[in-house]
Amino acid sequence: MNVYAPILVLLALGAAFAIFSVTLTSFTGPKRYNRAKRDAYECGIDPTPQPVGGGHFPVKYYLTAMLFIVFDIEIVFLYPWAVAFDKLALFGLIEMLIFIGTVLVVYAYVWRRRGLEWE
């Protein structure tokens, strides 16, 4: 259990800091609300409009984000393979090709279903 003591201390410190700063700012910070401040936060751009009673639910950002994650994770899995490339030998190469092949299938699907076109 001793090995975990530093982690627990760090956890406690982190929690204490978060609670301390949130409480402090809620007492000391000035509160001047305007329309922009009350809007949902979307990276500084105007919140995407949602037409009432019809129209597409805008999922463009979501699609881009999903695609990014798919290929990002693919690269993440390539790293450990690249590090142990010599030890994994032919076995690793074939397994990795199969893995990249399945991600390619995803890519083909997204491409054919026009997921790569913005409009």
Binding site: G53, G54, H56, K87, A108, Y109, R112, R113
Partner: protein, 521 residues
């Protein structure tokens, strides 16, 4: 410094895992069919997709089942100990495949809903919008459901044979993610369906996080993710340790969520009600089999030595699950919600087999699972047939006097309900008998008494529906019982056959389970 040291130790002991692809054939066949299914979605013309997907789904599921049957008798660790192929694992895989075949039949049904099948023409359209109306009026069918289903089956096939914590987690996610999507794709009552999908997804992710955290603690305790190694570490260190106990608890939360055991059952009624009924049937049956397979393996193989620590925990959970499921089912007025609560109660009964922690308990639990799965497939299949102008007539008041308009449907539904209640000559009775005797053998008499009490309450619930169907007067606007295509008819026929045959001549299946033996360690 220590990091460098351990890195060199790892480098010295590194051995390539050997994978016997033949032994993994069932999983690989289904996974490959799912990937080909995605390619079909990408390149095949719209009209050709459904027939191609159906050939892929049924072809791969049947081929995988043949592969499982051919593997009978294999007992080995594979993939460097990550996969355990043994008797119980193979039986569970075979059960998952048969259930999936019947489930796929229900999903393929196109005759009961005049608008098409049970799935939204395009799930991304806003419910009630012009786009949605256009897509459904043009008669589009959603065919992505088929690859999604096959991916889910891939996860379910890996789940009961996974022999290390990481693979178990991957299997859990491969099984769950497609199901979250399938739940949100109902053609009718779209908002309810989407709400169910979101609830299932958020709560499911939460339980996965619990599972992962627990796995990390078990790894921290034993230094390995392999089930066998963790069991050795536990056997080597008698006495209690917070790390291992918290780890066991958190892994258990993740797995118990999937079977809908109380207090992790809250998602079950909403999801079972909101999901398209064929998907409800498929997941209520197959997920339970796969997840209970994993629970049985984890508690028998890893935590066998800690029996005295986890048994009290599971006692509480089993009692809560049985009583909450049975008692809350009494108050339900929607047939899908009632069946959801009944499935919670059934999970509690099956937990008795896990708690027994002996070979008889293992056999009883697997028997019960198979019996329950086919009965459940049948009940939800019947639910898809009773319809009015808005879709399925799920309110129980609409089911009054069903025997007068459609005696055959009412009789079939009554057979399933009697099996769920555990009446002799049905599979449910043999299942209950098997787990109860195993639990008594393990000295869990008080638990069996609670289980009998819960069975009584549940029997009242099922009996009430039977009385309603046969002796009550039909409502002013009775629902119509539609005539389905061969798909649903065959699915219901198989379910009835399994329910009755396992109830009257259970011995062949019990013998098979006895030959299957216990989990490999």
């Amino acid at each position: 410094m220590s990091g460098v040291l351990s890195a060199s130790v790892v480098a010295d002991t590194f051995t390539l895992p050997t994978i016997d692809y033949g032994a993994l054939a069932p999983v690989l066949i289904v996974a490959a069919a799912a990937v080909i299914g995605v390619l079909v979605e990408a390149f095949a013309p719209r009209g050709a997709r459904r027939p191609l997907q159906l050939v892929l789904v049924f072809g791969s599921l049947i081929a995988a089942f043949v592969a499982v049957v051919m593997h009978a008798g294999i007992r080995q660790l594979d993939g460097g100990g990550a996969v355990a192929i043994d008797g119980p694992g193979l039986v569970l895989q075979g059960a998952v495949l048969l259930i999936s075949i019947v489930g796929a039949m229900l999903m393929a049904e196109r005759m009961v809903d005049p608008a098409g099948d049970a799935f939204a023409a395009r799930a991304s359209t806003l419910p009630g919008s012009e786009d949605e109306r256009q897509f459904s009026s043009r008669g589009f069918l959603q065919t992505e459901i088929w690859p999604l289903m096959l991916f889910a089956v891939t996860g379910m096939l890996l789940f009961p044979i996974a022999n290390d914590l990481l693979l178990l987690f991957v299997a859990l996610e491969v099984m769950s993610l497609p199901l979250y999507l399938l739940v949100g794709m109902a053609r009718r009552r779209r908002l309810l369906s989407q709400e169910a999908a979101l609830k299932y997804f958020i709560l499911g992710s939460f339980s996965s996080a619990f599972f992962l955290f627990g796995s990390a603690l078990l790894y921290g305790y034993s230094g390995s993710i392999k089930f066998g190694k963790i069991a050795e570490a536990i056997a080597g260190n008698p006495g209690q340790n917070m790390l291992i106990l918290v780890g066991v608890g958190m892994v258990a939360v993740g797995l118990l969520f999937k079977i809908g055991a109380a207090p992790f059952h809250q998602w079950t009624p909403d999801v079972y009600q909101g999901a398209p009924t064929p998907v409800t049937a498929f997941m209520a049956a197959a997920v339970k089999v796969a997840a209970f397979g994993a629970i049985l393996r984890v508690f028998y193989v890893i935590f066998g030595g800690l029996r005295w620590d986890w048994q009290p925990m599971l006692w509480v959970i089993a009692i809560l699950t049985m009583l909450i499921g049975a008692i809350v089912a009494v108050t339900q007025t929607d047939v899908k919600r009632m069946l959801a609560y009944s499935s919670i109660a059934q999970a509690g009964f099956i937990l008795l087999g896990v708690i027994a922690a002996n070979p008889a308990g293992l056999r009883g639990a697997i028997f019960y699972l198979v019996a329950y799965a086919f009965t459940t497939l049948g009940t939800f299949a019947v639910v898809t047939l009773v319809r009015d102008s808005t879709g399925e007539a799920t309110h129980l008041s609409k089911w009054a006097g069903l025997a007068k308009t459609s005696p055959l449907t009412a009789t079939v539904f009554a057979i399933f309900l009697l099996s769920l209640a555990g009446i002799p000559l049905t599979s449910g009775f043999i299942g209950k008998f098997a787990v109860f005797t195993a639990a008594i053998e393990a000295g869990a008499m008080p638990l069996v008494i609670v289980a009998l009490f819960a069975s009584l309450i549940a029997a009242f619930v099922y009996g009430r529906v039977i009385v309603l169907m046969f002796f009550a007067d039909p409502p002013a606007d009775p629902p119509a019982v539609v005539v389905p295509s061969a798909f649903t008819t065959l699915a219901i026929a198989i379910s009835v056959a399994v329910t009755v045959v396992l109830g009257i001549i259970p011995q062949p299946f019990l013998t098979l389970l006895e030959q299957a033996g216990v989990f490999i360690r």
